[in-house]
Structure formats: structure tokens, C-alpha cells
Symmetry: C2
Subunit: 199 residues, 2 copies
């Protein structure tokens, strides 16, 4: 219990005020693969995340102008492919180029494989592919939010520890996106709950 | 343009199938400050993100059992405080402990300051505090998603470059959370658009 009036100082002199903006970081820079029938595509997205643990649900927010938008809207599904250091160049490139005129899979030497549950490709080179089924589209403004159920996960076996059977996220060498820059993940600080064990 | 049938191989032998889960990483581990009137609190959240650029909107997903849930629901606002290496211990601790019985600000030596727009505290020690006003609550399952407008940003002046006037995210030393572990951000790989300039 924490009484507010005795605790909140009104001294904001060390802070600079900015106009509202999108400054939640670091984030993933994921490759979204989508399309079925005649056409498949890839786009890079950082406006994505988990919104519920049980059932597992997530979202991606996409500008309607993007080539993948209509493919996802029409087919009702997409795949979130996590990206690692090896894929950094393709991750940036697929966020800048449009699939309207280009075969991004071919240009970036990425391999589309049929997903197991949804009717969309996964990217073979990704360490972890998350198959998603759209349940709602929220038209918020510049971006529309695709709210989705996670319906299947495909993990690359080369990152699965042979002894424990667990996926080793550290070995996957995921990259982070923060305020216009891509970073490797650095030194490990601790695991969830370490602050309590340490005491 | 990318024709699917000629491109998608059905060879999934290198992939291991998992049941659906929450595996989008790396993410922020943000400290959410909330409360007004008699009580304020802090909780740690990784299910958060940007959902729209214009207008700037974001979300946090929270279990209804958490002590902060009712405070946010009642007051209709919260603050997302980004966390850095110095705050890593407090970040983990505030995610494990409940504010029902504890004054988390006091225990972790964090300083509540009055936000500028919303009726909630910000955390002085955070490099960047994002003031949010709830516009909708979606009851998804284990977690309810608070959809919010970003209404103000407070940035710590010590991370603002005196020459350019820009906030230096690199200096802020943000931390990332990935599959149960906290990490420093490591080596910079490139900036948005580098793949095109390089060519």
C-alpha cells in the first residue's frame, strides 16, 4: 500500500516534455510472411506483440497501403518469423522494399515452406515461426491492428538443445530494434525471478 | 510478385512443431506506474507495444488478478516507464512482488513524480515515461488488453544530446526481455534503411 499524496513530488525539472509518439523500445523486427493461392510476400514489422497468454494471442499493426495488408485481410492468416543476426540485412531490406514488384523471397535468398496449420508460407531460415489466425481487424488510424490467435509454432531444430529438448533462444541470436537501429542482444543480466532469489 | 505454387516447398523436416504459445521476443520489460487518489503502484509488463503511429497508440495486457489492474481500470490511465541496466533489479522485483502489501516505490528506491497530463505517477529514474489514456479494455482470456492513446512523453534530460537536441536511446542503455531472461542491448548492426544504402 502506497499513499500517493505523501509520495509524489511535483518536481519535473529533470524531465523534458515531448509531444506524444511511438517510443516503446526495444522491440522485435519480425518478418511477416503471408499470402496463398497465387501470391506470397514478406514484410518487416515492429508493431507486434503478445496480447494474451491463455489462449495465446498476438497482434501485428500494418499500414493499409502495404502490399501484404490485402493478402492478410483476404486470407485471414499470417506467420510471424523471428529474425536473427544472419537475417538482419533481409529484415531491414524487407521493411523498405515493396512486394508489389519484387519477389522478396528470391531477392533475399529466403525459402518459403508451407506452414502446418495456416494457409501461408513460413520462412525456413527463421529460428522460430509463429502461425497466426486473424480474429479481428481494428482500424485505428495510420495502422490497422490484426488481432490473432497463435495456432501453431515451428522451431528450427538446430536451436533445440539435444539434452533438455528446450529451445535455446540465446543460440538463436535474435535481434532487437530500438528507435531506428538494429542491435544484437548483449550480456545476460539475469533470469525472471533472480531479484528474489538473490535476496 | 511471387507465385506461391512454384516456391513453397513442403519440406518441413528441419522444423519441430510446438503447441501454440507466447514466443514473440525480444520485448521491453517496462515498469507500469499507476494509481491516483489514495494509492499508487508499479508493475512490470512485457506484453506491451505500439499499435498505431498516427495517432500514437499503444497497449498493455494485464492479468485481472494483478493489484494494478483495478487501479488502471478505475482511473483510466497509466504510465509506461522504459527500463535500463540500472533498473534491472527493480524491473524483475516489481514483476514478482505484489503491491497489495508492499510500497514498491519505497522498497526499490524509485521516485514517483506527478505526470504532466494523466493522473498517475511517473518513475523519475526511468529514461523515458510514456503517459497513456485508456480508450478500451478487451477481455481476451488470462489477460485483458488496455488499448490506450499516448498523450504525453517525459524524457530524462541526461540522455538528450546537447548539440542535436535528440534523445540518445543508446545512452539510455535500455534492457530487453527474451524468453525468461533480461539482456543488455549489444552491438549495433545497422540503422533503418542501411540495407538499401549499402547496395
Amino acid at each position: 500500500m502506497c499513499k500517493k499524496d505523501s509520495l509524489i513530488s511535483s518536481e519535473l525539472s529533470c524531465k523534458s516534455t515531448w509531444k506524444p509518439g511511438t517510443l516503446i523500445y526495444p522491440l522485435p523486427a519480425a518478418l511477416i510472411s503471408c499470402g496463398n493461392g497465387n501470391e506470397i510476400n514478406i514484410m518487416t514489422v515492429s508493431w507486434l506483440g503478445t496480447i494474451c497468454t491463455n489462449p495465446p494471442m498476438c497482434y501485428i499493426s500494418v499500414r493499409p497501403e502495404r502490399h501484404s495488408y490485402d493478402l492478410i485481410k483476404k486470407n485471414g492468416c499470417f506467420v510471424i518469423n523471428l529474425t536473427n543476426e544472419e537475417m538482419a540485412f533481409a529484415t531491414d531490406w524487407c521493411g523498405v522494399k515493396s512486394g508489389k514488384d519484387i519477389n522478396k523471397f528470391k531477392e533475399m535468398n529466403l525459402t518459403p515452406l508451407k506452414a502446418q496449420v495456416v494457409d501461408a508460407p513460413i520462412i525456413k531460415e527463421s529460428p522460430l515461426s509463429i502461425e497466426c489466425e486473424v480474429v479481428e481487424i481494428k482500424e485505428l488510424g495510420s495502422h490497422h491492428m490484426f488481432i490473432a490467435n497463435v495456432v501453431n509454432i515451428l522451431a528450427d531444430e538446430k536451436y533445440i538443445d539435444k539434452n533438455s529438448g528446450a529451445f535455446d533462444m540465446t543460440k538463436a541470436k535474435l535481434i532487437a530494434y530500438s528507435h531506428g537501429k538494429y542491435y544484437k542482444l548483449g550480456e545476460e543480466i539475469g533470469h525472471f525471478g533472480w531479484s528474489v532469489k538473490k535476496k
